[in-house]
Structures are given as C-alpha cells and as structure tokens.
Amino acid sequence: MTDGNPHDNPGERRAAYALISPAWAMFVVLLAGPSLAVVVLSLTDWQLGAPTMNFIGLGNYQQLFADRVFWKSFTNTFVYCLVVVPGSVFLGLGLALLIEGATFGRAFYRAAYFLPVTSTLIAMAVVWEFLLHPSVGLINVVLEQVGITGGDWLKNPGKALFTLAGIGIWQSAGLNMVLFMAGLKAIPPDLYEAAEIDGASSVWERFRCVTWPMLGPATLFVTVVSGIRSFQVFDTVEVLTKGGPNKSTEVLLYTMYTEAFNFFRTGYGSAITVVFLVVVLALTLLQVKAGEKRTHYG
C-alpha cells in the first residue's frame, strides 16, 4: 500500500497531524467554536444575564425579517458599500497611477495618503466631528466662502449616511492605493514597449490595453477587501450618529450591537450576526471562485 509515497507513512502522518494541531486548536477555539455558539444562541430566546433560555427554532429570524429596523439597516449597509467600494477603489487606483507617474515626492505622497489607514478610526471620527460641526466646522466655513450653505451633515437624514460614506472612502483609499501600487510594480515594462510598437501611443490607450487588464487580479482583490471592510462599518456610526437621525445611518453591525448589548436581546443579536457572517462568507467565496478563473488567463 505504501508504494513509496511518503505521505502514507504512519509516522509521518502522525507528525503531520501533530504539526497542524496547534493551528487547528486555535481555529476551533477562536473561530469555529464562537461562530457555532453564535449560531446556537440565535436559535434561542436568551437575554444577557437571564437565568433560563428556550429553543425557539427560527423565531428570531422570522422576527428579524419582519423588522423594519433590520431591513433599513441592511439596505443602509449595502448603500454604504455601493458608495464606498467604487469610491475608494477608483480613488485608490487614481492615486496609485498618479504617484507612480510622478517625477518627485513619491515617498511623501505615499505616506500622506496612507496615513488615514494607520490612524485609529475612533479618534479620527472625533476629528471629523469638529470638521463637520454645522456652524464653526472647517467644511461649512469653507463652503460659506464660496456661497454654499453646508447645513448639518450628520443630523440631516438625507445626507448623514453619505457623509459617513465619504469618511469611509477617505479612510480606505490609502490601503487600496498601496495594493494597486504593488500590482503596478508587477507589470513587466516590456509590455508597454510592445504596446507602443503596436501603435498604442496615447496614455489612455496604454492604460486600456496593458495596465487595466494586468491589474485584474489586484482589482478583484481590492474590491472584495473593500467590500468586506465597508460591510463592517461601525466606529464612525457609534461615534458620530448612533444610527440616527431616525435610523438613517443604522448599519448591520451597529444594529447587532444595540440589540445585543443595549437591549440585551442576545438571541436576536446573534441572529443578526449570523446574517452578517453569511454575507461576508459569500463575498469571500466570490473572491476565491473568481480568483481561480482569473489566474488561468495567461
């Protein structure tokens, strides 16, 4: 049976299991276990600190899908993603191209645009609160100079979510920029020479024929990572709007937090977490599937 295949050697097999066991243990304790606990809790009516819990099957999910606040929160989260993902991906790409094409000050610009990524978003949210202050904030003061009345960015139900999305773009464009720069570095220069010989003389032609297709895998990766990150928006909502006014900035993680830790409806909060996990998992699978296809194009 052994056929000289080293993997069938019982000793080596044991060693292999022993070697992966720490990783497995960590996976079970830190990821699989808690996730499973959340799924189980989502099937109960448990409230934080309650002496009893009952299995109520899919009761929490039924209530969830009939809950106006949940759907509002779900849609808001998607609207937020639909603004932040394209915004931060194209801004990141633009910045990467500009900095790569610059003749001086590359390191400075790279650092400057990457700074928002390294700063703590909670602290930055407080800074944004000052900038967005309706009467004395820098943004409205500047707008006033050109004759525009800015209004209250965070208390206007029509504007608040997009204001938060703007902060989201500002925060994640830097990371996308760095990822695109890595992608640009990997494009062999001879491709540009070949394109030029073939008649792609303008900057746009070269971008369309060489840069953009060669950045395909990087773009996919950046898009999915931005999607997952913006799906997890919480800090700015907690600090700046608390989901208001009138739930106009209520997002999934914030709803989960208020239900589970402010209203103590732990079972219900767990159900929201499960929905959240499913969406993130779907996004990740999408990346893996699409990534497999993409790697074979060459």
Binding site: G49, F261, N262, F263, F264
Partner: protein, 419 residues
Amino acid sequence: MRKLLGLAALAAAFIAGPATAQTEIVVQYPIPDIFKDVHEEIAKQFMAANPNIKVKFTQPTKEYEDATQQVLRNAVTGQLPDVTFQGLNRQRILADRNIAQPLDGLIAAEKDWAKAGYDGALLTLGQVKGKQYGMGFSLSTPIIYFNADLVKKAGGDPDNFPKTWDGIFALAKKINDPANKIAGFHFDWDITGNWMWQALVLSNGGTMLTPDETKVAFDGPAGQKAINTLRLMMTDGGMRDVSQATALQDFVSGRLGIWAHSTSRLGGVTKQSQGVFPLRTATFPLGAGAESRLPAGGNVAMMLAKDPAKQKAAWEYIKFATGPVGATVMVKGTGYFPANALPAKDAKMLGDFYAQNPNHRVAIGQLPSMTAWYAFPGENGLKITDVIKDHLQSVVNGSAKPDEALKKMTADTQALLPK
C-alpha cells in the same frame, strides 16, 4: 457520629470566625465623573465607623447602560458585586432576572425603621412589582434652568418666571436672536429612557401604560397634549434640533436663555456659569394641577450578595450610603437630592446648604409630585424606549405631524409589549 458533628461545627466556627472579624464587600457604581469622590468619601467614613467591614470598589462604569451590562455579564460569569448602584429605570431588569435580592426582609427586621427618614413615597421609587429592590441614593427631577441676564433683557422677571409652557415660549421668542448666535430655548427631549417624554406626559396627568401594564396609555389626552407641546417647542419656542452636548455648551457659555434638563447637572452648571451669567432655576410646568407627576431620575443602591454574612454587611453599607451621612456627602458633591428626609431638616447636615442655595431648593419643592421613572415590562422593555425616541425625533425635526407620530408610536409600542 455526634463527635464528628461537633468537630465539624468547631471547624465551621473557626472558618467563619475570621469572616465575621472582617467581611469584604465589593461595590460597583456608574458615572465616575460625577460620583467618584462622593463614593470614595462615603466608603472612607463607613469603614471608619464599621472597622469589621472592608469596602472594595470595582472599576466604575461610564454610564447607567454599561453599569447594567456589567452586572448582567457578571451574573453569567458568577462574579457579581455585593452592592451595585443602578439607574432607577434599570432596576426592573435585575429584579426580573432574579439577580437583585429583595430587601423587604431586612427592612422588616430593622427596629427603628419609621424614624430612619425613608419616606414612603421615596421608597416606592425602589420598588418593582411591590417588592423593595432598591434604596434611593441620589435623585433628580426635571427642572428649568435659565440665564437671568437674558431673561431680564427680554423683559421677563427672574423672580416671577412663567409657570406654563406658553409663557416660557413667549419669553423664549423674545430672547431668541440668531444674528448674535443667542438661542431662546432648549428641551433635552432625548435624555435616556424617554425620561423627558415621561415628564411631559406625567406632568399633564397621564401615564405610560394602563395600571395592569397591558396597554399603551400615552395615547390619551395627556399624551396628545405632551406631543403637541413637544412640537410647539420648535414652532413657538424656536428650539433648534441640536444634540444635548450642544445645548449644554450653549447654556454654560451664556448663549442659551432657557434650558429644560435634569437637576443632576446643577452642581456642574453652577460652577461653570460662575462669572459668566447669574444662573437661576424654576419649577417644571405642571399642566394638570394636583394630578401632575414628574419622573424621578438618578440611581438606587441594590443588593446582589447571596451569602447571608455578605448580605448583612452589604445592607449596613446601603443604609449608610443612602442614610443621613451618605446623603450629606452626596448632595454637597453633586446636584442630586437625597432619598432620605433627615439631613434636610438638620442645619448641620443639609439644612444650611439648602437655605443658602435656592437653586437647589426648587427640586425639593417638586418632591410631592415625584413618581417612578417608568420601565416598560417584558423582554422588549429597552427596545420600546428606542422606538419611542425615534418617533419623538420625527416630531422634533418636523418630518411627522404630532398626532400621526403619536398614533404610530402607540401601535409600535403596543406590538412590543408582552402578549
């Protein structure tokens, strides 16, 4: 066998011996920026008077919300403090989950309870379904703060402040001066637990639910008056849709004329307004005469200890903190008033303090109308307060008509009540 039992009893006596010599109790409290010095001073005086009990504090929580959160988490992990100070409207959560211990037995065992200064009306604030779970520690009530300079400038008389909302709105309109960034009026409608909404409904003689707690009652005449008053604050009173923090900043910097808020800030605002403007207070408008009620705010001491020895020590501490000595320390350090009647009668304790601080006396005058800060029943109790807050917001920003908002608010609340 008898010998063995005797030995066991002897051993038990030895083990219990040191425990009675010094019992340690763990105490948890919220809002350290108001209460830290107060609690530490009370504990110091308590330990000096009771050398056999040692008081240890856990890390205080920032707000009432996290104080409840922490106790619930501790209940899961079995690390409950022996005494906790909780917001008045949070007692129900801990009583319903059997985490807090009822105090009725301990009160019945007290010899001179009638002379201890705990008035019946104030005791009811700590009762859940007829049982005593909390002992009032620091209480607050909604009142009107005003800037006497701005009121005078607008032609009002600070010694004769309006007693109705209409009167207040008329005065606010004259104070209002947007060109100079002076606002006339603000009402902190979004204080936690729908506290100010309850104040509006109760002061008009209404209640939140029917007495049997099965049906919404704020859709009646009192509630209709309350929600219309809230809208009139914007249209007639010129109130802006701003956060509590903005209103507070505006008031202490002399840019807000009239401000309805809790007495809890009186200590801080008195200090901050010194040298800026003369601060005065007035009673909250009562729209239903003798039927008017106002919700009490603030916090109570609750006992979580299950062990009899610890319970005994915890009870001694609760009596000390909520009694004359603790109340005197607390009142002098904050804007709250005590739930014990004794210190205000004694010139050495708080009698002189109230004589010299008429702004603090206004709240004492509101004592007869005081009632509980209502907590909604059932597992959705806290969610209901959030639903109500959202509907009130829609009235404040004008996106819904008051009567329509009240109708929706009633239906949404009814749907979340236990069936």
